[in-house]
């Protein structure tokens, strides 16, 4: 029922909103939640419980009412108490078979005897029937339906910064924010509700001050999802996540009011007093006409005042405490409301249709015989609190159980983390103000802003929490966990079965593992375990509270997602030439250049053929390019590579192999000497960043007289190769093209300063041309132009791989792995053990004294091989055992047969001998060991003078 205007109500009565729930039309107001609008319309049953499909309504109205979850089209699991009402909503309860009203699942309630705690561990063992059980479980468990056609959404995250982050905009949070801001801190104040003020009245003046303060940024409808290292807190807003970095964090998150446990405490109409009070104050909703108030603290009587004011008839106050303070007694007395002190509710009685509470049976504490039955359509409970301490736990706070207030409180807070208010065990309104002021001041002081005010906060005189609000009943249905449908007996049975510590009991019973993550169940479960094992709650302890505090939409977590892409300066030219792109790490490289009407294989073969017979041009700009200068440059290179470079002549290049300290090959490239104290060298594409970083580290350690510059992105590089390459280049450069094989020259190409290196590369006469990136495109274009007359073709990564394989060149990371040493890969010739020191040297000496475990060899398939060919990683089989694997394989147009590289056992590597490779279908293919290079074995073509 809707009440007349309440002071400070959140609804806007000028904006009615029509919506539909379970096929019926209703009207609410802007500012309503779905739950408050339905409550105003007198709808009490909002959902069905998870296991037994019992009718359920609102419990907390504080965003842990998992039984009031609804589906709106493709949006599953909207929490009715936390979802703002929107016009046109068409909602259905989740977890029903049929409709909410006629839920076929409700028959499960009658099977409850067969569904004890952990029943799924004890049944469904037969393998034969398991597919049937699995189907059944999948249909019956889970909440809400995913719409697979829903559009993918990403909401970009943003970073945020502040001095003091205050989590919670209730009484103590507001006080903390003001206190910190007054000391000069930039404050961010976060509250998950639509407005500040928390659950208590009397904070409106504070709210006004906070909203007006220039140094306080307010985030409402926002919650802190978790605490991460160094005060990093994701704030989940409606539209996105803000990754907030604070210098100090004040947790003023409050406490969750806890339910009492008695038979049928899950009937719609049985709810927490704070929830009922919120409905009245914020939404002008009268949640019930006639209630019984179950009390055990001062908060109950403050709530009672709200209920009386709202015109609710109070049939009785049932207080678990035997004696209570006189000012609390006075209120029911003044309104002729019967007070039953030292009594409890034995059971709630359902209405005739079972959809709502219709009465309660009460008895003195400890007695099982009811002494009265009271008619009512609502039971409001105010028996205690559990701190919302998840963020404190995640920050590493040591908590202790304070028996005086029957609550866990912080004992030792980490640096820069502060707590105030109910979460800190401070419940009285005036004390909360003081506690907030204290914490805010301390937080600002932690940031170096002012001094921490020495404020003494009085301890609570009365416990706001009852230590045992739990009443057993022979017929059960007294629920501890409303998410998981766990009754008191379920936990007692779990403990009896041996799951008698908090971690085991949680996992076996699933208490606290539902969507509300134990917000209203963990504390009672803990009390049950404590009593059963004769321990104190402090000794029992709590389980780990992990992020996120509330569910976070996937779109928010996905964020924008940056995957940076790297492109060479010739990218647009490749695109125009029909490049088919492939990623090489972060780079985009042409795999091949597509020609209309030709298959991929035909294009690649054509490119390779052009290089062998004419001329081809490839962009090798993704290679790492480093420059080292200084008197000790040569010495440095000799320490980090396996070969010698001190004697390398200026104007010459040499292949370079790098090992790690274990003697494993990690990178290769070419080193060019430009001067006595000046070298230019390349690395693999994928190794560039790591090699530069590691070389920098070595020199930080060795402090040699040299410096390294990373030119990987600053230089464009291309390789012109083929019998006609020299002709193409003639006239475009001032470099003498009779330069010897492996020489390096500095000069001009197309008017641009360049470094030319004559290398083997693909096995034809070729030069690698390096120019500053800004000239890359121009030089490429000029070469392509000049090459037209000679049938020049651009060639891509696949053709390059094929051409290099024909020459037996290995690829680091493909033909080598995480254990390959130079000898295994046929690189022993490059290793100069007589140097004084190089990285990996000692390891290689040790390895040389042991038998070699494997050998990389070249192999060929028979020329007439028919059928599928092996692929990389197919195994070499010798006598039924694994003897190695294929690392590279390709069809060679030049040799007209399959060629490849493979690891084999030593002794299997004799040229001409055969070995077997096993295909995926287990058939064996015969391969013949071949010396490399496969093509032009004497390397005449790449060394030739024109």
């Amino acid at each position: 029922m809707r009440l007349p205007a309440q002071p400070g109500e959140w609804i806007d009565r000028t904006t009615p909103l029509g919506f539909r729930f379970e096929g019926r039309d209703y009207t609410g107001f802007a500012g309503d939640t779905v739950a408050s609008a339905l409550a105003a319309a007198g709808v009490s049953m909002l959902g069905r419980s998870f296991k037994y499909h019992r009718p359920r309504g609102l419990l907390s109205a504080a965003n842990h009412d998992v039984n009031a979850m609804m589906q709106w089209g493709g949006m599953p699991n909207l929490r009715a108490d936390a979802t703002p009402l929107a016009a046109g909503m068409d909602l259905e309860a989740v977890n029903t078979f049929g409709t909410l009203e006629r839920d076929a699942g409700s028959m499960l309630g009658h099977l409850s005897r067969f569904l004890p705690v952990g029943f799924y561990y004890k049944a469904f063992h037969g393998k034969r029937l398991f597919p049937l059980w699995e189907k059944m479980f999948r249909a019956m468990t889970g909440l809400g339906k995913v719409d697979f056609s829903a559009p993918r959404q990403r909401t970009p995250k943003r970073y945020g910064f502040c001095d003091v982050l205050v989590v919670g905009g209730g009484t103590s949070g507001l006080a903390a924010a003001l206190s910190a801001a007054e000391q000069g801190a930039q404050v961010a104040l976060v509250d998950e509700n639509a407005r500040l003020g928390g659950s208590t009245q009397g904070a409106s003046e504070l709210v006004g001050k906070v909203l007006a303060h220039p140094r306080i940024r307010v985030f409402t409808d926002t919650y802190a999802a978790g605490y991460y290292a160094d005060h990093w807190v994701p704030l989940v807003e409606r539209e996105r996540i803000t990754k907030m970095r604070a210098r100090a964090v004040v947790v003023a998150a409050g406490a969750f009011e806890q339910p009492a446990v008695f038979r049928n405490n899950d009937l719609p109409g049985v709810m927490l007093a704070s929830g009922a009070a919120r409905l009245i104050r914020r939404h002008a909703v009268q949640p019930a006409g006639r209630i019984v108030l179950l009390a055990a603290n001062a908060d109950a009587y403050q709530a009672l005042a709200d209920f009386i004011r709202a015109g609710i008839e109070v049939a009785a106050v049932v207080d678990l405490r035997g004696t209570l303070p006189s000012e609390q007694r006075a209120l029911p007395a003044a309104h002729d409301i019967p007070l039953f002190a030292g009594h409890c509710i034995l059971e709630a009685l359902p209405s005739s249709d079972g959809r709502r509470v219709a009465g309660v049976k009460i008895a003195p504490l400890g007695q099982t015989q009811a002494i009265a039955e009271l008619a009512c359509d609502g039971v409001f409970m105010s028996v205690g609190w559990a701190p919302a301490a998840a963020l404190l736990y995640q920050a590493g706070t040591k908590m202790r159980y304070d028996a005086g207030i029957e609550q866990f409180v912080p004992e030792k807070l980490p640096d820069g983390v502060f707590a105030c208010g109910r979460v800190n065990g401070v419940h009285t309104f005036a004390s909360r103000l003081l506690d907030g002021e204290r914490a805010g001041s301390a937080a600002a002081a932690h940031c170096g802003l002012g001094g921490a005010k020495p404020i003494a906060v009085p301890t609570e005189t009365d416990s706001p929490t009852h230590p045992w609000p739990i009443v057993p009943h022979p017929e059960g249905k007294n629920f501890i966990d409303f998410d998981e449908d766990l009754q008191l007996s379920d936990l007692e049975n779990a403990i009896q079965e041996g799951f008698d510590n908090i971690e085991l009991m949680k996992r076996y019973s699933t208490v606290g593992m539902g969507p509300s993550q134990g917000k209203h169940s963990n504390m009672n479960a803990l009390r049950v375990l404590a009593r059963a094992t004769g321990a104190t709650p402090g000794e029992v302890g709590t389980t780990t509270a992990r992020p996120f505090f509330h569910p976070v939409p996937m779109s928010h977590l996905a964020g924008r997602g940056f995957t940076p892409e790297r492109r060479t300066p010739m990218h647009a030219l490749h695109e125009a030439a029909g490049a088919v792109w492939m990623p090489a790490g972060a780079w985009q490289r042409p795999e091949y250049y597509a020609i209309h009407g030709l298959t991929r294989e035909a294009c690649i073969e054509g490119e390779a053929l052009a290089v062998r017979q004419g001329v081809g041009l490839i962009d090798v700009g993704t290679l790492g390019k480093l420059e080292i200068r200084g008197p000790q440059a040569a010495e440095f290179l000799e320490r980090v590579y396996v070969s010698k470079y001190a004697g390398l002549k200026t104007g010459m290049t040499r292949y370079a192999v790098m090992c790690d300290e274990a003697g494993v090959v990690i990178d290769d490239g070419v080193i060019a000497r430009l001067a006595d104290d000046h070298f230019y060298f390349t690395t693999t594409t994928s190794g560039a960043a790591a090699v530069y970083r590691e070389l920098s580290r070595w020199n930080t350690l060795w402090k040699m007289d040299c410096g390294i510059v990373n030119l990987t992105g600053a230089m464009a590089a291309m390789n012109l190769a083929g019998p006609k390459a020299k002709q193409v280049l003639t006239g475009l450069t001032d470099v003498d093209l009779s330069l010897p094989f492996l020489a390096v020259r500095e000069g001009n190409v197309c008017g641009v300063p360049a470094r030319l290196m004559r290398a083997g590369f693909v096995g034809e006469w070729g030069v690698e041309i390096h120019v500053p990136a800004e000239h890359g495109a121009r030089v490429w274009q000029a070469l392509m132009q000049a090459g037209q007359a000679h049938g020049i073709r651009p060639f891509g990564v696949e053709a390059q791989r094929l051409l290099r394989l024909e020459k037996g060149h290995i690829i680091i990371g493909q033909d080598t792995d995480g254990l390959t040493t130079p000898g295994e890969a046929g690189l022993d010739w490059a290793v100069k053990m007589d140097k004084p020191f190089f990285v990996g040297q000692r390891s290689l000496a040790i390895i040389a004294s042991k038998p070699r475990p494997r050998q990389l060899v070249g192999f060929m398939l028979p020329a007439d091989h028919a059928g599928p060919a092996p692929q990389e990683c197919h195994l070499v089989i010798d006598n039924g055992d694994i003897a190695g694997r294929v690392t590279s394989i390709a069809w060679s147009p030049a040799l007209q047969r399959h060629i490849g590289m493979a690891y084999v056992k030593p002794g299997m590597d004799a040229a001409g001998s055969t070995f077997a490779i096993r295909l995926s279908d287990k058939t064996l293919v015969s391969a013949e060991v071949a010396k490399t290079p496969f093509y032009d074995p004497d390397n005449l073509r790449q060394k030739e003078e024109a």
């Binding site: 929490r79 919650y223 970095r245 940076p564 892409e565 492109r567 200068r629 992105g713």
Partner: protein, 172 residues
């Protein structure tokens, strides 16, 4: 002036150098040298920025001086940057989406240079002001440049004209 404006100034001449001898060498060439790491100074037609401890970026006509033969402990750094000027009222919102450095806390008075990553790309950033608006000079390796510019434009574009999201019952 639009809410966010990004200009490409990659063509401005620039040069780099690093090494223990770099500061003295630059001074000998007649350039003012920023004392403290990660600071910059204005020079005619450009600037000189100290990148970290012992590396320098010189922009403007004076960069031609760095073609002089290097001395001991001086290592020339070929600069082929994509260089941008980003400016506008909503620049801070753009930065908040791509960078975890708190630029507000820096205070441009100290003329700081920031070496960090933005949208996953390594950048040199210098906060500045342009016609009273917050502005930022940015340099990144030109092989990342195309993607970086594209991404900045995308983020800026969405800030100015947000893509409608489905607010249908977005839960907190």
């Amino acid at each position: 002036m639009s809410a966010i404006n990004i200009a490409d100034v990659s063509r401005t001449p620039r040069a780099g150098v690093k090494g223990a001898g770099a500061a003295a060498w630059l001074a000998a060439l007649g350039l003012p040298v920023p004392d403290a790491p990660n600071t910059w100074l204005s020079i005619e037609g450009g600037l000189i920025a100290r990148l970290g401890l012992a590396e320098f970026l010189v922009e403007g006509p004076a960069s031609a001086k760095l073609a002089a033969p290097p001395a001991h402990g001086v290592y020339p750094v070929l600069r082929q940057d994509t260089a941008l000027v980003a400016a506008g009222e909503r620049l801070d919102e753009l930065l908040a989406e791509i960078c975890s450095v708190d630029f507000q806390a820096l205070g441009p008075a100290a003329q700081p240079v920031v070496l960090t990553t933005m949208a996953g790309v390594t950048v040199v950033a210098i906060p500045a002001e342009e016609s009273g608006m917050p502005a930022l000079r940015l340099w990144c390796d030109s092989t990342w440049g195309a993607w970086f510019c594209q991404t900045l434009a995308e983020v800026a574009g969405e800030l100015i004209q947000p893509i409608p999201t489905n607010h249908q019952g977005a839960t907190s």
